[in-house]
Symmetry: C2
Subunit: 297 residues, 2 copies
């Protein structure tokens, strides 16, 4: 049985009743589970994590987008986070038995429905993008709601993948597919932020480090921390990031005191680490007992 | 949903038709899956791995024991492996959502049925044992079929936990509960067997090493190997065994070239290793995405 995750971001983080109604519309769909709802007042944004069978998740998210379009007026939305729609971003993530291609297909299917049934412009992004310049979400969202409202009618390059070439009060929505993201923090045995900042610079993609790592150095409860997003753990695995940090820390005479995962991560990311450290060159997923359980159990 | 594994050992490894009939009786039970059948001609013994819901597994194994009792005559059984019955040993193993206590209860339930419905003497062993001297399977099976046949009628200490105090042609059966066993091999960068033997002695329980490790050193395809059974990976985890070997190998100037798992292992054993090496002190099983999937998915 295929399982996918979807993490729709809604442009409402303050009015609890509105958030509740959006979530309620998604909870009502059988076969999809709402795992988590995180609302941020400063960003005025809520991030919902759903999981379930592909069709159930698409149906649930469609209901959420529909309710958000009714209850959120982007002309009155203010918040610290860049955004272009009531439902701002909808990434599909393969979890179990599902591939990235499956998630791309789901993104397109949902995009088509949102465009035609809800009259909301939809831009496909990341693995679902139809043009290279739309792969990066930041590029798709440049100008935000206010900018897009002007540009979409005049600039041909801004034509959406689905839906009208006019932006209503629900704004526009970016729908895409991406690998699971792991929020990963490494703590060092120091209260000095400078080594953490230097190590973050050394390991992150933007300044010359590993391709799928975003990182910054900071102090958390008096301890230096390298705070990261690992955006594709299959290509830049957790163990490689950890060992690179260990090596960079050693040049300052520092050591890792502990690491932490914030939120969820897939089992596979941990199994990959075990495979590396235990040098299990030939371990196949068939050898993992739980993988042998068929659906009828 | 609770999932248990059961690994019945049958005293037939040569007559394919007999093995097929025993396995067929178990395959027919809905809710239990036969994952593996390993027959050894020298040992004249077959090891079957089943998995499924507790009740389905008990029912399936009961059918297998019943057919084995009809088709195997222990008076005519010869083989290299110690044995006392047509169905010789039946260990239940907790896999997912099930505890050792659940497996002890299953062992007792199956033992009661085998004793009363099939008239086969049953000895409970390991975690299911009713007396300390029956915990160790080797002690229960001492004297084998031939010895037990004599002793069971005269020696009160040999009275079975269930069934008659007389041994028929199906012999007696040991039924118990134990943790999952991991067959784990570590290879060294040498073709000399002596360091492998020395390291095996250093790490195994019997000669002063780790409590739940059985180990021997040998040469496999020209390479030194430490071949192990890890009999309780929760108490003696894979990473600790591996790091102890690494440390002992270093005194010979040797390194680990690779490790391997033979057969199956539970995901938990790999996650424990990742938790150790990545120093994930606070990782909870709730953070693993797949664990959040409810049964209705």
């Amino acid at each position: 049985m295929k399982i996918v995750e979807c993490v729709p971001n809604f442009s409402e983080g303050r009015r609890e009743k509105v958030i509740e109604q959006i979530v309620a519309a998604m909870v009502e769909c059988p076969g999809a589970q709402v795992l988590d709802v995180q609302s941020d007042q400063d960003h005025n944004r809520s991030v919902v994590t759903l999981i379930g069978s592909p069709q159930a998740v698409v149906d649930a998210v469609f209901q959420g987008i529909s309710v958000a379009a009714q209850l959120i007026d982007m002309d009155h939305h203010r918040g610290g986070h860049p955004r272009m729609g009531a439902t701002d971003v909808v990434p599909f993530v393969p979890v179990r038995g599902a591939t990235m291609e499956d998630c791309v297909a789901l993104a397109r299917q949902l995009g088509e429905r949102v465009g035609s049934e809800l009259d909301i412009p939809v831009f496909l992004y990341e693995a679902a993008a139809t043009r290279p310049e739309r792969r990066n979400l930041a590029d798709v969202r440049r100008g935000e709601y206010e900018g897009l409202k002007e540009e979409i009618t005049t600039n041909r390059d801004q034509a959406p993948d689905f839906g009208p070439t006019v932006v209503g009060t629900a704004g526009a929505t970016a729908i895409g597919a991406r690998p699971p993201l792991i929020a990963y923090n490494v703590y060092l045995n120091t209260d000095d932020v400078n080594p953490a900042k230097a190590i973050a610079r050394a390991i992150r993609h933007s300044s010359g480090g590993l391709r799928y790592v975003k990182a910054m150095g900071l102090i958390v409860e008096g301890q230096a921390q390298i705070s990261m997003n690992l955006t594709d753990y299959r290509r830049t695995p957790v163990h490689r990031v950890t060992e690179l940090i260990r090596s960079e820390a050693a040049r300052f005479g520092l050591a890792i005191t502990r690491c932490e995962v914030v939120g969820l991560l897939p089992t596979e990311a941990l199994i990959d680490a075990a495979r590396f450290y235990l040098q299990l060159a030939d371990l196949s997923s068939d050898q993992i007992l739980e993988n042998r359980l068929s659906d009828e159990g």
